[in-house]
């Protein structure tokens, strides 16, 4: 890799041994992918994936101490993934003990480290940092050093920014030196689609199911999706953006997609159209039967598959305000239809702290809470990552949560029926 004088000086240790190791990490990392240079980060804010003070990540905190010790901190303010704990979310005394004393016993210390490294504020904890209410919204063409698979795929695809699927720690290291190695999704060539996905369903496909099917098929490749404009339109409005948020999260967690193009809708596809498709691209056709096949193949790892759910999580990734309003209306209608006044299963809806603040002050927010739904900023994934929660029958409409935990996946429509005491 050819470095500038400044970059070479950092690598040579002119700014300290720790910064030299940071640069060495990024150079080695970039060279593995054929990067020939480091390019400046141009986004205003960074986004980090590691938000949790898991005791098991002690080696990471030790590494961060080395950075802080030499003032090798982030050049950008940053947002970070959601907090792992929220007292509003139901938990029993044993879970409380396990969460606080064993699993997340480093949370307070870690948040102190984040303050020293440059976190944007006390409310900067969400996986959907790109919501208007949160304000970490890169511009088209911005070069980023983000991690969090769902945020990276959103920034690349819906916002047209340029970011690789960086790992935790690498995300921070880019912002510490202000540069990232140029390869993959930072290049025009790397943003070309090697798959054409033809959506031929008879109704609007469930975002998280469609994303899952595509992720499992194309893995880390870039898909160019045609046929979705029929269901989403050609305007990137709040509804379309919310759909693509969930769709993308599923492509990224069920596979390793970092960028997708939606014909006629996402910025690069709207501008460049099918010229984004690489020569020799493969084709994947998705119809109703294919979606059903994918759904039917999800393993159910509950010990007793017939057990009544004890908890429901909706909002992984965090919900948008549009989605919260939509759920509020649907739940009101379903409860009325089913002759109930409150949800019949403890149900937690998760969203960014800033989104929750705005939503809670509205009539829709009041109604949703009155229906018994708990609103939280928690990361459901972090709540579920322990044997106590794993043995609980938890349901979700998040395909990401399904992938990483024992939570059982249902479509939004099925979840609505279950939590409102419908026929299922």
């Amino acid at each position: 890799m050819k470095l500038t004088q400044e970059q070479q000086a950092i690598l040579d240790g002119k700014q300290g041994a720790v910064l030299a190791k940071v640069m060495k990490t990024l150079v080695q990392y970039g060279e593995l992918f054929g990067a020939e240079r480091m390019v400046p980060i141009t986004g205003e804010y960074n986004h980090l994936v590691t938000s949790f003070g898991l005791k098991a990540l002690t080696p990471v905190y030790d590494l961060l101490d080395q950075l802080i010790g030499e003032m090798a901190v982030s050049k950008q303010k940053f947002t970070v993934d959601p907090r792992p704990l929220d007292p509003n979310v139901p938990s029993n005394p044993i879970q409380d003990l396990v969460f606080k004393k064993f699993m997340y016993s480093r949370q307070k210390e870690y948040e102190e480290q984040l303050k020293q490294l440059g976190i944007a504020g006390d409310d900067a904890f969400t996986c959907t940092c790109y919501m208007d209410e949160v304000g970490n919204i890169p511009k088209e063409g911005d070069v980023l050093s983000w991690a969090e698979s769902s945020a990276v795929v959103y920034a690349n695809s819906v916002l047209g920014a340029r970011c690789n699927r960086n790992s935790g720690i690498i995300d921070l290291m880019g912002a510490v030196v202000g540069y990232v190695p140029e390869f993959g999704l930072l290049t025009d060539e790397g943003r070309k689609a090697t798959w054409i996905v033809e959506v031929k369903t008879t109704k609007k496909p469930e975002a998280q199911l469609l994303g899952s099917a595509i992720g499992m098929k194309v893995m880390e490749d870039v898909p160019y999706v045609v046929g979705l404009d029929k269901w989403l339109g050609t305007e990137l409005n709040d509804e379309a953006k919310s759909y693509l948020k969930d769709f993308g999260a599923a492509t990224a967690s069920n596979g390793a997609v970092g960028l997708y193009h939606i014909d006629g809708l996402t910025p690069e596809a709207a501008r460049l159209g099918r010229s984004l498709i690489a020569e020799g691209a493969q084709t994947y056709v998705i119809d109703d039967a294919e979606l059903q096949r994918v759904y039917d193949n999800y393993p159910i790892i509950w010990k007793n598959p017939d057990k009544k759910p004890k908890l429901c999580f909706v909002g992984c990734p965090h919900l948008s305000k549009t989605q919260l309003v939509d759920w509020s209306n649907k739940i009101q209608a379903a409860l009325r239809k089913n002759g109930k006044s409150k949800v019949v299963i403890p149900t937690v809806f998760t969203a960014a702290p800033q989104v929750l603040k705005e939503f809670e002050g509205t009539m829709d927010g009041y109604r949703l809470k009155k229906a018994g739904v708990i609103l939280s900023y928690i990361c459901p994934l972090m709540y579920m990552n322990n044997p106590l929660s794993t043995s609980m029958p938890v349901i979700t409409s998040s395909n990401k949560l399904r992938t990483y935990t024992s939570a059982r996946y249902y479509t939004d429509e099925e979840i609505l029926d279950i939590i409102t005491g419908g026929d299922r």
């Binding site: 190791k21 060495k24 990490t25 080695q28 990392y29 593995l32 992918f33 994936v49 590691t50 898991l54 005791k55 098991a56 990540l57 002690t58 080696p59 990471v60 590494l63 699993m103 991690a147 969090e148 698979s149 990276v152 690789n164 699927r165 960086n166 790992s167 935790g168 720690i169 690498i170 995300d171 993959g184 893995m219 880390e220 967690s253 596979g255 390793a256 393993p299 790892i301 990552n385 322990n386 044997p387 992938t403 990483y404 024992s406």
Partner: protein, 147 residues
């Protein structure tokens, strides 16, 4: 015995028993229980990985196409290395992905006493040939012997 040649991502030589995943390894889903709850054998916790689920990964020659899933992947691998719960080596049939690369590089640059040889681009034939329980020998220059 068959010999394969790939690219050295992290140097080192070692001999170990193979465990094989024919699909992408979801690093977070695979290692999270091992790291959180003291499982020194690093039993794979990824319910979606039919090849590896419930199999021990620590000290084994982990053969796979690539890693997938959460972008915590690299730091999870780094922690596994730091805590001595890493595979003996990681052998990729495809070019390495950005998350596994991050883990391998972080361990190489930031950990003094840890060696986890990593070789990528070993080809589809490697993954078609290697099976659980076979003996893998990683030699210098990205040479991998499977017996």
């Amino acid at each position: 015995m068959k010999t394969f040649k790939g690219r050295v991502v992290a140097p080192g030589t070692i001999s170990a028993e193979a465990v094989v995943s024919h699909e992408g390894l979801n690093t977070l889903a695979s290692f999270q229980k091992a790291l959180q709850f003291g499982d020194k054998t690093a039993t794979c916790g990824d319910q979606n990985n039919k090849d590896l689920y419930n199999k021990k990964m620590a000290g084994k020659a982990l053969c796979l196409p690539k890693t997938i899933g959460s972008t915590t992947g690299g730091l999870v691998l780094y922690c596994a290395c730091s805590m001595g719960r890493q595979p003996a080596c990681m052998l990729f049939s495809e070019p390495i992905d950005s998350l596994a690369a991050a883990g391998a590089v972080l361990a190489d640059v930031w950990l003094d006493d840890v060696t986890m040889p990593v070789v990528d681009s070993l080809g589809d034939e490697f993954l078609a040939y290697v099976q659980d329980g076979m003996t893998i020998t990683v030699k210098d220059g990205g040479v991998v012997e499977v017996a």
